[in-house]
């Protein structure tokens, strides 16, 4: 047979055999492999009955949900309670003590005011701030979460919740990345790697920002206490303001469902999708190893990225608040310019500017707002000095500054909404780009929440003004 004939014959067989012989090959390989295994491998089946019993309880229709909620509540409680002391300590060490030392050192060297401001009050202070607020909760939350993961419990959560996520076109594992997002959105985005279906993974990445992260909880709680708690009688103030914060968090979850649904039916309609979820056997978690890896892989990487972004942003914050043209700071120019637009959203120019320049971390939004407010309305005696980030010693002092800045209950409500619905911090944006390798999806993930925030705040403000005066 000559070459031509062979090729011709091959072509003919190719048409006849069709496309699906790959499947047939795999099937044969599996069949062969399993028959070999059956003949040679003996299975002792020790742990599988225990696994079976655990699965019966943890994925049970009656106990599954309560167990899950209880475990999550414990994790959050441990994080919030456990983080207070180290956070206060770090803040004392880095912000109060070391910052003061650096200042006196630079005064000793008689460094020019400008350089001292940029480096110490700008770069150092905002990086120190981010570390002291961000590190403790993450160092508690991530190891706890990783322990649950290592034990094998988290896939069961995904299994329990998949029914809900299926309806909005997402993957059950999004429940896990979303929960992770309550700790830190950047970590939540990285965690989306566990979703192996391309479409569902993108959905999880884009909607992660709707989980109220660690950096936003304190802002929510403080604002709710000052502006929501104060409009109700004092004996229910505590409950009402906590309810307001939980309402915002739940609203975030609802937004993540709604956005997941609309993305999977519009922009992401065509992207490939395949569901499967392996439920690995339970095993005792490897305690030290887990703590080590979760500290290195999750906490430190995220923290490092945050610091890298926070330091230059600190410089910008300082410059905006200190560079003057015709005796008026840059901040004041922008605040006056953007105030009308801010007011339309129930916010003000100071808040808009704070959200722009404090993009590296949500943790420094509130200190920036306080600093800018005192700067623009000239409150005497508040803060450490011109254009330096600060926090007040008491809630009342904060409330006084904000009220002097013209804040009303509507401003409080609007900033709670806007804090939920605005662009992710720069660390998260960068992480989204790293994970998706796509400008397009990074763009969507960045601007979609802002768009939603502007719409929600705008309509809330108008309706509020019509009905509440």
């Amino acid at each position: 047979m000559n070459k031509k004939n062979i090729i011709k014959k091959a072509e003919k067989y190719r048409w006849e055999i069709g496309d699906d012989f790959h499947d047939a090959v795999i099937e044969t390989i599996y069949k062969e492999a399993s028959s070999i295994a059956e003949n040679t491998v003996t299975d002792k089946n020790v742990s599988s009955t225990l696994d079976f019993k655990l699965d019966r309880i943890l994925t049970s229709k009656i106990y599954g949900f309560p167990i899950m909620l209880a475990l999550l509540a414990i994790v959050f409680w441990l994080t919030i309670q456990g983080a207070n002391i180290p956070s206060a300590f770090l803040s004392y060490l880095l912000v109060d003590l070391l910052h003061g030392l650096l200042k006196s050192f630079s005064a000793f060297l008689s460094m020019p005011n400008f350089i001292d401001g940029i480096l110490i009050d700008g770069a150092y202070l905002s990086a120190a701030w981010v570390v002291s607020v961000m590190l403790p909760p993450m160092a508690i939350f991530f190891p706890l979460f990783t322990l649950l993961e290592d034990f094998g419990y988290l896939p069961r959560v995904a299994f329990n919740l998949d029914g809900i996520y299926q309806r909005v076109g997402a993957h059950g594992k999004q429940a896990l990345t979303m929960t992770m997002g309550f700790g830190c959105n950047a970590a939540g985005v990285v965690a989306s790697r566990i979703i192996d279906s391309p479409r569902e993974r993108l959905i999880a990445i884009i909607t992660n920002n709707f989980s109220l992260c660690n950096g936003r909880w304190p802002t929510q709680i403080l604002i709710a206490t000052i502006f929501i708690g104060s409009v109700v009688p004092s004996y229910v103030a505590g409950i009402v303001s906590s309810a307001a914060v939980i309402f915002i968090a739940v609203l975030g979850v609802l937004f993540s469902f709604a956005v997941s649904w609309s993305l999977s039916n519009s922009l992401l309609k065509g992207v490939g999708s395949a569901f499967s979820l392996e439920l690995p056997p339970y095993r005792p978690p490897r305690f030290w190893q887990t703590i080590y890896t979760s500290l290195i892989d999750r906490t430190l990487i995220v923290l490092w990225r945050a610091v890298v972004f926070a330091a230059p942003a600190g410089v910008v914050i300082w410059l905006v608040a200190n560079v003057e043209i015709n005796n008026i700071t840059l901040a004041k120019y922008f605040v006056d310019f953007s105030n009308p637009f801010g007011m339309m959203l129930g916010l003000n120019g100071v808040i808009l500017l704070a959200y722009i320049i404090a993009i590296p971390a949500n943790e420094i939004v509130l200190p920036t707002i306080l600093m800018l407010t005192t700067l623009t309305v000239n409150i005497a005696g508040a803060g450490v000095g011109n254009g330096v980030l600060f926090e007040t010693d008491s809630i009342n002092a904060t409330a006084e500054i904000l009220k002097a800045g013209g804040w009303t209950t509507l401003t409080g409500l609007s900033i709670m909404l806007f804090s939920l619905l605005h662009n992710p911090c720069s660390t998260t944006i960068y992480t989204i780009y790293k994970e998706t390798k796509s400008m397009k999806w990074t763009f969507v993930a960045t601007f979609l929440p802002i768009l939603l925030g502007v719409i929600v705040c705008f309509f809330t403000a108008q309706v509020w003004r019509i009905f509440a005066g």
Partner: protein, 338 residues
Amino acid sequence: MIQPILNLIFGITVLIILTIFLFPKYGLYAMYKKSKISKQKIYVEDSLKFLYESEYEKLSITLNQLSGYLKVKGESFKNILHRLEEMNLAEITDDNIKLTKQGSEYALRIIRTHRIWEKYLAEETSIRESEWHSEAEEKEHSLTESEVEEINKKIGNPLYDPHGDPIPTKTGELPPFIGLSFYVFAEGETVRIIHIEDQPKEIYKKIIEQNISVGAVINILKIGKDSVEIELNGKKIRLTSELIKNITLEKIKTEVYFPAGAIPLSDLEKGKNAVVLSILKSCRGQQRRRLLDFGIVPGSKISTEIESLGNDPRGYKVRGAIVALRNNTAKQILVEKV
């Protein structure tokens, strides 16, 4: 008091305008994108495709049939015909219309684009099966040749589109209309016999003796190494490999036939054991590969272990591991209880 109301009206107006512009498929932007491809081109290409597919099945087409297919009449239909002749793509004699050689080549390109795009949608995306055709109908007019080749490469030079129709090669070759052999199909599929080779005589006789004839609809029960088991009119027939070589088949686009005793995995009650019979053809691409990766292949033992609230997804034990599958996937796995 007035200002917020005005603002509210303004805000709602902006939202409505945005919706009108950006609404998927029917929004102004989507309409504008669609309108960029000329109507005339679409009609010409659709005619070529229709003529070619008819000629492939050895049917001749009258002008009336073409007009009916395109849903165009009168003056505009005449324009299309004029254009086809002018571009030397088709010849019109009396009432019949036939493709020229050039027309055939053009048509094959369109068909290739259409079928490759359908295959792409089936394998790589999660677009629903009911939408493949209409998506491809639009895409075939706008994809360039190099884009088609790129996609073709990406999905591994497929031979058949997801409906089982052959994809013309780049050089415009198609297998002669001979239909397919048994091995192209999976167990459980329903097919029609379109050709029985009458040489050599003895084998032909053996086939005829089984009451097998051209046009008969059969169910493929089992495909073995050297024999195939089929069901014809409720009767099980075993055919040896030398017989089946001479029979060619055609896919029927109907519901898949379930072999006796087979149930979809999604119907397997909790705690019950079963053996996997097959994964239906409708489960493709990534999802299918994922199942194969888990070792869900014919012959695997499988049992339903756990159910979530609402019974979707459910956890199945296969090869010692528990795998959760959604019901829409589990429906496409046929099992037999043991």
